[in-house]
Amino acid sequence: MSTILNAFAEAGALLASFDADFLAIVGLSLRVSLTAVLIACLIGFPLGAAVALFRFPGRGAVTLMLNTFMGLPPVVVGLLVFLILSRSGPLGVLGLLFTPTAMIIAQAILVTPIIAALTRQIVEDLWREYSDHLRSLDARPLDTLGTLIYDARFSLSTAVLAGFGRAIAEVGAVMIVGGNIDHATRVMTTAIALETSKGNLATALGLGIVLLVLALAVTASVQVINAIGARKAAIA
């Protein structure tokens, strides 16, 4: 019980201290995860919408794959990215292993299927409603895709949040490809794992609480933006 109480004290102290090391860790966590989510959106939105919209051979298999990859184990993705980026790997020459870029790549791979799979479902539902009108207009495929993604934007923000939740919370992938190097690739989750293994349970838990607060802040700001926008566009 005292550990938990200490943890809250630690969390408060961490937040109040504005300790440079601590802020760097928080900053890197946000930078890596937000960038990964952005990349995943750029790929996942059009990919999911295209699967929803177009009939092609193997469409069922693609959907099954996207849905399955929503549950990709982070350590496995980390390992694969590690192999690809390691010195002897196909992209070893880039020298990206143990850099934030490697962490972004790994997290983008984890998040893209989540965003694509949820986008497929959301866009497919909207397409059912819009198809008569858009087909009557003889809209080109790209215009149709754009219309559906734009008009589904508020529902899609939930997909983005799901992706962000996945990225900010995972430890397996960033640990393997980032290496948890102090002042270089240490993020919140790897720091928590480290403190836990060192036996600093209160510090670890304190970091955990800060992580939760961060996730809450990001989610809340998306929800507020959403609520304002949704009222304007009356998506109900």
């Binding site: 009108h133 858009l134 009557s136 207009l137 566009a233 009356a234 109900a236």
Partner: protein, 242 residues
């Protein structure tokens, strides 16, 4: 208003449509020319909507031909047509943006869109609601917006699928006035309805369908004065058909 008449007449030859191996339209033969307001009349389930959707190109026939003049395929013809549905599809945008979206899809330059959308909204009596989200508008306003959206495409043919089926009399009148506006501007009207009063008000010619068959196709006056078939008589005297 539209470009020189290019796609009429519409020739429908031995049109058959089946779904789940049930035949829903049987051997429809029809020739529709410019100028006449065509009303497709019949009870629910007669195949009115199906016929409209097939002609517009939203559905593919099981067999038979739908030919627009000068075009072998639906693909070029559909760009000269517009369709308004019973339940209008409203994009999750403002009334104004619903129209500019259509203009954008049709390749109208950005600078022109605003002005043309404003004009169409004014025509539909919706200027005051331009910035209202379309989905917050009433049923009648939504249908007028759908017509304004069709108007900006300057269609040669306008398909209407029971456009007033869920509207009150005042809203119905507003919609019918707009339809008359299309007619006056030279757009061919092809409208499905089961509302006899509306058919009497708007039709120049009547296509009477029952159970997926074309029962009568004649001048509106002749149809309402004395239908040639038993089914036609039963329908206009208000007997239930099934």
């Amino acid at each position: 208003m539209s470009a020189p008449q290019t796609i009429l007449p519409l020739e429908v030859r031995q049109l058959v449509f089946e779904a789940n191996s049930t035949r829903l339209l049987h051997d429809i033969n029809l020739s529709l020319t410019a100028g006449q307001r065509t009303v497709i009349l019949g009870p629910n389930g007669a195949g009115k909507s199906l016929l409209l959707r097939l002609c517009h190109g939203l559905l593919r026939p099981t067999s038979g031909d739908i030919n627009w003049r000068g075009t072998g395929t639906r693909d070029r013809a559909i760009r000269h047509q517009a369709m308004v549905f019973q339940r209008p599809v409203m994009l999750r945008r403002t009334a104004h943006a619903n129209i500019t979206h259509t203009l954008k899809i049709r390749g109208v330059a950005r600078t022109e869109r605003r002005e043309r959308a404003d004009a169409a909204l004014a025509l539909a009596g919706l200027s005051g609601l331009a910035d209202l989200p379309a989905r917050l508008m009433s049923g009648g306003e939504q249908q007028r917006l759908a017509l304004a959206r069709a108007w900006v495409t300057e269609p040669e043919v306008l398909f209407l699928d029971e456009p007033t089926a869920s509207l009150d009399p005042a809203a119905t009148r507003a919609v019918e006035t707009l339809i008359e506006g299309f007619h006056a501007a030279g757009t061919k009207i092809i409208m499905a309805t089961h509302d006899l009063g509306q058919a009497r008000r708007l039709a120049d010619e009547v296509v009477f369908l029952n159970k997926g068959r074309l029962v009568e196709f004649s001048n509106a006056e002749r149809f309402f004065e004395g239908p040639e078939t038993e089914d036609g008589r039963a329908f206009i005297t208000g007997d239930l058909l099934w």
